[in-house]
């Protein structure tokens, strides 16, 4: 009885809020013509964000795998270094990391591509989170599985390839998908080193046209178009790798 009342109440509140928000946003008096001249800039910004997202997604998986391997290597000093890296990267602001990466580190090695540096810094940042997700996944594989693999006569590499990784993939997919969505949105911080990505283009359009909402509203659609497929793909893969029927 109380459960039904509560769920009805929650449904009504959520639905009302949703309708209210949509109504307010939709009935605002927009001046789309003010932003129209900048639509190609917004589109090119979206494409740059797409490029950054795909490139750093791939690279961050490699970075994550590397630091997972380091932490699980069994060698104490490398494991300690990887641990320090993960803690420092996760515990400090991405904005500062981007600034240091571009103006200090990349500058010192004479690398001036803000897009390239941006992709690398984002990958290092996201890779630290991924390595924790991967490590947790590997450590959650029961001892009996490692023992069975050893008893069969598998080498360490075969154990990972045929026994551990296929099971880990399934376990880390949901958390990794969340991290990938964060990665896409975090790429907006690359404006500080003037990468002409999506958010940067919206900022410029706003500065030139004074049409704030008209400049920023497309971001909702644009970022959702990038993050939603990740979510769909993750669900699809989860189903494909399901083995507890």
């Amino acid at each position: 009885m109380w459960k039904n009342v509560l769920s009805a109440f929650v449904s009504v509140v959520l639905l009302t809020t949703f309708v209210f928000v949509v109504w307010v946003v939709a009935t605002h008096d927009y001046r789309w013509e003010a932003i129209a001249p900048y639509r190609n800039n917004l589109l090119s910004g979206w494409l740059v964000t797409l490029l950054i997202s795909v490139a750093s997604l791939v690279l961050s998986v490699l970075v994550g795998a590397l630091f997972t391997a380091g932490q699980l290597s069994g060698h104490r000093f490398p494991a300690f270094l990887c641990r320090v890296y993960v803690e420092v990267i996760r515990g400090t602001p991405l904005l500062t990391q981007i600034l240091i990466g571009y103006y200090l580190i990349a500058n010192a090695i004479d690398w001036h591509s803000s897009l390239g540096v941006g992709i690398v810094v984002l990958s290092c940042f996201s890779g630290a989170y991924l390595s924790e997700i991967f490590r947790g996944g590997i450590e959650s594989i029961p001892k009996s599985q490692w023992l069975s693999a050893r008893a069969i006569g598998f080498t360490g590499a075969q154990t990972y390839r045929f026994v551990v990784i296929p099971q880990v993939v399934r376990r880390v997919l949901p958390a990794s998908a969340g991290q990938f969505a964060n990665l896409v949105k975090d790429s907006s911080l690359l404006f500080v080193i003037s990468v002409h990505e999506f958010t940067m283009q919206a900022r410029e359009a706003n500065a030139n046209s004074y049409a704030t909402f008209e400049a920023y509203l497309p971001l909702i659609l644009g970022y959702f178009l990038l993050t939603f497929p990740i979510s769909l793909l993750s669900r699809h893969l989860e189903r494909r790798y399901r083995y507890e029927h």
Partner: protein, 244 residues
């Protein structure tokens, strides 16, 4: 099989899982059972025999060949044998069939279709044909153990090592797995097992050893050990477990 164990020692921290085990079995023994209280060192001895653990001291010889020390040689030693644990032997992401094929192809270098044929043959022999395409989660505990046993037997191991193969099963499933193990014994398969099934040990094993606190308390022919135990701990243990 002839087994010769000398001064075998393995400690885990303060726990003396093997504390100077000496044992000799001659060639007439085909099925060898380890019995004794839980935590007494049966599993450890079995793992040392199978090359899954390295001893701190001592040697094991099986048919004259010493269980090696270095990791690569140990891996080759493990490949020759088949191993079955109490539970969770199978890989949950693979079907029953794939569980059996994988080691044949990846460890023993069989062609895939050969391995396929062999897996089907052995699974049919074990009465599990209907379950080939199922994942372990869809099988009962007893069915999982039978598939795991099929995997351990598929490459015709020189020695089959069973670590309390029925301890995690309910009575009905225990019986189906024990029937199958008995069949393997009848077929001449050489087996070393640790077990709490005293009836099975007595009926199927040629030799039995009682392990307690990491030491051999008593060993001998199965009938002799069960009918006329010599040492007080074995008498006490048997009178307790046979009471019900």
């Amino acid at each position: 099989m002839s087994i010769e164990i000398r001064g075998l020692t393995k400690h885990y921290g303060a726990t003396r899982a093997a504390d100077g085990i000496d044992l000799a079995l001659d060639d007439s023994v085909k099925v060898f059972a380890l019995i004794g209280p839980s935590g007494g060192g049966k599993s450890t001895l079995l793992r040392l025999l199978g090359g899954l653990e390295k001893p701190d001291a001592g040697t094991i010889r099986i048919d004259g060949a010493e269980v090696p020390q270095d990791e690569e040689a140990l891996r080759l030693w493990r490949r020759k044998n088949g191993f079955l644990f109490q539970s969770f032997n199978l890989f949950p992401h693979l079907t029953a069939l794939e569980n059996i094929i994988l080691p044949l192809v990846q460890v023993h270098g069989w062609k895939r279709d050969e391995a396929h044929g062999r897996a089907r043959e052995i699974v049919a022999r074990f009465g599990m044909d209907a379950h080939l395409e199922k994942h372990p989660a869809q099988l009962s505990g007893g069915q999982q153990q039978r598939i795991a046993l099929a995997r351990a037997m598929a490459h015709e191991p020189a020695l089959l090592l069973l670590d309390e193969p029925t301890s995690a099963l309910d009575p009905e499933m225990k019986a189906e797995v024990l029937d199958l193990i008995e069949e393997l014994c009848q077929g001449g398969q050489r087996i070393i097992l640790s077990t709490h099934e005293m009836g099975f040990a007595r009926g199927s094993a040629d030799a039995v050893v009682f392990i307690g606190a990491g030491r051999v308390v008593e060993s001998g022919a199965a009938t002799a050990l069960f009918d006329q135990p010599q040492s007080a701990p074995v008498k006490a243990f048997l009178s307790k477990v046979m009471k019900w």
